[in-house]
Each structure stands twice: as C-alpha cells, then as structure tokens.
C-alpha cells in the first residue's frame, strides 16, 4: 500500500460509455485506449491533473498480458484524477461497480490516502440520455459529495435533435455543469478551472446509501425526467420522442437473421484476417531476421560466440517474431471492434447460446479478449454480475486461443499445410479457434456441474451504445502499444530461454549435455503423445511463455538463422527422427496431438497468478492442474486414435 499522502483526489464517476476515459486522458495527458463497450475500465487509473497548457506527457498504459497489476502511485501535494469503472447506480451489483464504489467510500484501502472519500467528484452526464444518467448525479449530491457535472456527447445530442442548457441544468441540480467534448477536449479547460475553484482542502463528510428502495429509484427518475425536460433548450420533451427506433446499421446488426449472419461473418473475418492480412508482413520480418543472422554470422567468426548469437539468440527470437505481424493484426481488428460499439451488440446476440452452457452474454467480451490474452480477459470478467457465471467464465478463459499461441499455430500449421495453399491455412487457423470454442463450451458445462455456487438472479442487461466510426488514430496507437509491449515481454523471455537452452545443450559437452540428461527423465511421460524428449523439453520450456516452444525447437534443432527462419525449422522438423531410429518424430498425427495439447494446457504462470487473485488459490491451482492433465490425456488420445485409423 502506498504511503498516506496529502494529495487531493478528484474521482471521475459515470455510466459506462459516458466518456470518462476520454476525459481522464485530457485531464492527465495520458493516452489510455478508450473502449466503446460498457465496462472497459475495470481497474482504477490515477494520474496527476495537468495544469492548463502543460504539454501532454505521453504515457501509454494499455491493459494487456504484461501489466496485470499496477499500484497507482500518488505524489503528495498534487491534485490526482482517478478514473473508475462505469456504474449505473450508487448501489453496486457487480465486481466492477463495487470497484467504482470503493473509490467513493474507502479510498484509504485503495490508494492509501488518509481519508476515506475523495475531495471532489466529476460526474459525467451523457447528453444523449440525460434522463437515464441524472439519478446517479442526484444520489451523489444527496450523499454530500462536492460535485461538478461534466456534460458530454453534446454533439451527438444535437444530432438527435436536442440541446441541453447547462446553466439551466446547473440551476436545477444545484451543482456546476460544464459542457465538454470528450474527443476534441473543447471545454476541458473550463472544467479544470471549475475543479480548481471548487476543490476543498479536505473531503466533506458523506453518507453513501447501501441500498435504495423501489420508491427512491422511481422518485429519482421522476425528478430526472422533469429536470431533463426543463433543461432541453429546443423542442418539447416527450419521452417517446427519445425513442426514435433503430438506425440503419442496427436494423441489420440486430436483425434476428441478418444479425446472426453478420456476427458469424465478423468473428470469422477477425480470425481470418489474422492469417491473411499478416502474411506479407511476415515475409518482411522473416527476411529481416535472415539478414540479421547472416550479418552477425559474418562478423562473429566461428566459435562459441557465434553459436550463442546466431543459433541461440537470433534463430530463437526470429522463429517467434515472424508471427508478430499476426499478433498486431489481431490487436488491430479487436481494437476496431471495441471502438465501434459492436461488442455490446455481439453480447446481445450470443447471450442465448452462452446461457445454454452456463455463461452469460456478458461473458462474450471477456472470452473474446481471451483470444488476445487471458490477463485482461480475467479482469474484464468482473463486469459479469453473477458470481457463478463469473467463475465459470474465468474457468474457461485460458482455453481461448490467446496471442501467445499464434506462433505455435503458425509453426504447426506450417507443418501440416503446404505453403502454396494459403486458403487452407486460413481455414485451418479458423478451425483451431472453433475447436477452442468447442473445448471451452464443454469445460463450461462440466465445470457448471462441479462448481457449488447457486445461480444468482442477475439476468442479462446491457446498454447498446451509439455506433461510432472508430477513430483510426486511437485504434492504431493502441494496437501499436500492445504489440510493442508484447515484443518486449516475449522478447525478454525468449532471449533468456534461448540462451539457457543453448547453454544446456552445449555443456558440459554437446554430446553429453545437461539437456540430454533432463530429456531422458521426461521421455516416458512424453512418449504416449508420440513425441521424443526434445519436444518434451520444449513443452516444459513453454511454461515460461507458450511461444517459447517455437524458439526452443529452433535452438534444439540448431536452425541456422539463415534465409527463412520458419522454413529452416520446418525442414529440421521434417527430418527429425527418434534417436537411433529412422522413425519420424513429427507426423500429421503427432502434430495434431500437439495442437490439442496447446489448445488446452494452461501454461501461463501469470494467468495462474491472476486467477488466484480473482478467485482463490485453490481455484487457480486446480484449474492449471486440470487443464495440463486434460491436455496430456486428450493429446495422447488424439495421437493414438489417429494412428489407429491409419494416419501416420
């Protein structure tokens, strides 16, 4: 926990998608990605209020594999802005809403301030749906918080045909109201002046209700309808006129038949693009590493150093980094989806199917982000209100085919599919994603039978935000940030493991190395999967990070960092035989078994740590053990089954 500080805290509060993250970025000068999906902020972010005119310090924080936990640090004597997950009401009903509420009532435990409540609240009010977001404003003002209302989405409201009078609103609510534009930042300096003039030295005493009665909720809405009607400047306010029916896009996206077809097309397109859009870039990276290997080989002379650099580092890293373009494309397309507002529609469409396997429409976004990485996915699962559904979602998240598996798929599919058939390759990759969904569904059903938690009465409700044309810049910047941090993390692990591997294989001597000894021990365990000890060692190394499997094989087979990194490795795999025999190690059957193994095995220790935090130690360890054992069993069954029916 941080030291108690005398910093003053301003908390941003508001409904999901009201524009909190955009405002936070303007106030602090950082560049978090904003996501057009309810519940994108699942942890707090805290940043120093930027004085007017101060240049933006570009600090990127994207939520991904590598930043599972960030303790906010707070400088004494400053004004700190705190972003919170979106809430609908002052009474929380899911974990992420609970997180937001803690920022109001127990700051001391969250960021270590000496006081429990913040100095000031900035409540965001979406001008396109004032009547729905005003009750929250009323509750916090009633609770005693010094409050400023930031009125966002005014451009969209005008497009809808009305204009909110901020002076009138302020008069009716009794607190200052400042109009801002979350995209351009217009009005933010007025808001900052407002914050500065209103910010008290110490927090006001507050009393936050822990429950509301039906009467109170209804009364809040009666008040809100009235305030909204009186603050709307032009046109008369009739609730029905606020319900204009669906726009053109939604008439397709939410259509029972066309919507489903579109959904399947979008999902297929997402995974397809990972394969096809990345192909030209992959050639480029491959060329680059080939050139690097030759260049280094030419300059290092012959000897140990050359072996270490060329065979250890360059070929190890190259074998994995060839697949970075695929990962970048995945991040980019997912970013586009998040920014557009489609994900909420998607969750509405799949709720029906997810319910039947014990999950919830709200599991959709966590599961989909699991296709990038299980860590942010586990955090996103906090938006699922029911405990049972949340735990089941957390159970199956590691079965989603995450980006760390992409290099593995690339290699194994490269082995199975001839390179002159890119169409088959794209199909095969889509098939792997489908298979991961099948496994996850089966595990959810079985897990539901084992898990002893009563179903809760939370149902499924999700707000469908307005469609927004994705802001190209935001999406590209976010994808770039995530890719770079992927490369950094994976790069470090891969380099370390590659070097360690190279050392294990060459000492005491190449013929009698530490690696061979280790290999002999694990050989019996790996034999049922139709593989030899060398692959077994690579599988164990993959517990450091799944993509290490690829670089470990490259090092084991001493693939020269020549021309084509993957081609070299594939050629080595095609020629690999069990020691002392001419029996091939990599056959269609054993490679299919490997695919099954990687689909199921939980080989990511960060995931285990996060699951432990989100649920319990027992859950996390049980999950890992179960998935590793299951992976081994199913891989063995696959290999032996295929051999029985005559597949080599």
């Amino acid at each position: 926990m941080a030291e108690p500080t005398s910093a003053r805290i301003v908390v941003l509060l508001g409904a999901p998608n009201a524009g909190k993250t955009s405002l936070y970025n303007h106030l602090t000068g950082s560049r978090f990605k904003t996501v057009n999906y309810p519940g994108a902020t699942v942890e707090y972010s805290v940043g120093k209020l930027r004085a007017a005119g101060e240049a933006a310090h570009v600090s990127a924080k994207t939520q991904d594999c590598h930043t599972p936990e960030q303790k906010p640090s707070i400088e004494p004597g400053t004004v700190q802005i705190m972003d919170t997950p979106g809430i609908v009401s002052i009474v929380p009903r899911s974990q992420d809403e609970q997180v937001a509420l803690s920022a109001l009532t127990s700051l001391d435990t969250v960021v270590g301030t000496p006081h429990k409540s913040p100095h000031l609240l900035v409540v965001l009010l979406d001008a396109t749906q004032p009547a729905r977001h005003l009750p929250l404003v009323r509750e916090v003002v009633k609770a005693g918080f010094p409050t400023i209302v930031a009125l966002t989405m005014n451009d969209l409201a005008r497009k809808k045909g009305w204009d909110l009078d901020s002076n009138k609103l302020s008069e009716l609510i009794g607190v200052p109201v400042v109009e801002i534009d979350g995209r351009s930042g217009i009005g933010v300096s007025d808001l900052v002046s407002g914050i500065e003039s209103l910010l008290p030295e110490s927090p006001a005493p507050v009393s936050v209700p822990t429950s509301l009665t039906d009467t109170q909720i209804q009364d809040n809405f009666r008040w809100a309808d009235d305030v909204a009607a009186r603050a709307i400047r032009n046109g008369s306010y009739r609730p029905a006129s606020l319900n204009p029916g669906l726009g053109r896009l939604d008439r397709v996206a939410l259509h029972p038949v066309m919507g489903l077809v579109l959904f399947v097309a979008v999902m297929t397109g997402l995974f397809w693009s990972v394969f096809s859009a990345a192909a030209p870039l992959m050639d480029l990276v491959e060329g680059l590493f080939g050139w690097l290997g030759e260049w280094a080989g030419g300059h290092l002379g012959d000897g140990l150093l050359k072996g270490l650099v060329v065979d250890g580092m360059i070929s190890g890293a190259g074998a994995v980094f060839v697949f970075v373009p695929q990962i970048a494309v995945l991040f980019l397309v997912m970013g586009l989806l998040e920014d557009s507002g489609y994900l909420a529609r998607g969750s509405m469409i799949v709720d029906r199917f997810l319910v039947s396997i014990g999950l919830n429409g709200k599991s959709f976004v966590p599961l989909l982000s699991g296709a990038a990485c299980a860590i942010p996915a586990a955090m996103a699962a906090r938006t699922i209100p029911g405990k049972r559904e949340r735990y089941l979602t957390l159970l199956v998240i590691p079965l989603m085919s995450c980006s760390a598996r992409l290099p593995v798929w690339g290699l194994l599919l490269g082995f199975l599919v001839p390179p002159d058939k890119p169409l088959v390759g794209g199909l095969a990759l889509t098939g792997i994603y489908l298979l991961s969904i099948v496994f996850a569904s089966a595990v959810a059903v079985v897990g539901g039978k084992i898990l002893k938690i009563e179903p809760s009465h939370t149902g499924f409700q999700v707000e469908l935000p307005l469609w927004r044309p994705p802001t190209f810049r935001t999406v590209v910047v976010a994808a770039w940030d995530r890719t770079i941090s992927y490369v950094q993390r994976a790069g470090l692990v891969i380099l370390a493991i590659s070097i360690a591997f190279w050392a294990l294989m060459n000492f005491p001597s190449p013929d009698d190395s530490a690696m061979t000894m280790l290999g002999k021990v694990i050989a019996p365990l790996i034999a049922p999967m139709g593989l030899d000890w060398k692959v077994g060692v690579a599988l164990i190394a993959a517990f450091a990070a799944r993509e290490v499997f690829v670089s470990a094989l490259a090092v084991i087979y001493a693939v020269e960092g020549a021309e084509e990194a993957t081609e070299g490795l594939l050629a080595a795999m095609r020629g690999a035989t069990f020691e002392g025999t001419s029996q091939l190690v990599f056959t269609p059957a054993s490679v299919a078994g490997l695919i099954v193994f990687f689909l199921i095995a939980l080989q990511c220790l960060t995931t285990v740590a996060v699951m432990r935090r989100e649920v319990s130690t027992r859950f996390a360890l049980g999950q890992m053990a179960a998935f590793v054992v299951l992976a081994w069993i199913l891989a063995t069954v696959t290999v032996q089954g295929l051999r029985l029916v005559g597949v080599p």
Binding site: D214, G245, D351, Q461
Partner: protein, 73 residues
C-alpha cells in the same frame, strides 16, 4: 394474464405498469430506466428466443427475454 414487454411486437410501444421478479433483478431493471410510467419500445429480437433490445428514456438496452418478462405493461 398480465402482459409484459417481452410480448411487444417489433416497433410497438407501451407504458410500464409494474416491475416484478426477484428483488435484485427488478431493482436493476428500474435503475436502468424501466420504471413504472416510462414508455418502452421494443426494437429488436435476437434469434432463437434470445435477448431483446428496448428503447427507454432515450437509451437502447438489451435484456434477456426472461428478464424482460418481469416488466409488466
């Protein structure tokens, strides 16, 4: 039999009379704007008896069919 918003036809509007169901669900529905007296319009239905989208107080909100059945008209 009481009518509820899950029985609305596409594009149909109705005024809410009562919100029933388990208390935590009925409160959440009301917090989302489905309060007695509010006008609701059904705008979309997902396939195979899936979730439905409603407009209430200017927002579009998707509800599972069983949840929508708690909102009586």
């Amino acid at each position: 039999m009481d009518r509820n918003i899950s029985q609305l036809g596409n594009g149909q509007e109705a005024s809410i009379r009562r919100v029933g169901g388990h208390s935590s669900l009925s409160q959440r529905l009301q917090e989302l704007g489905f309060t007695p007296g509010a006008t609701v319009r059904l705008v979309a239905k997902a396939a195979f008896g899936g979730a439905m989208a409603f407009q209430v107080r200017g927002s579009t909100i998707a509800l599972r069919r069983a949840d929508a059945a708690c909102v009586e008209i």
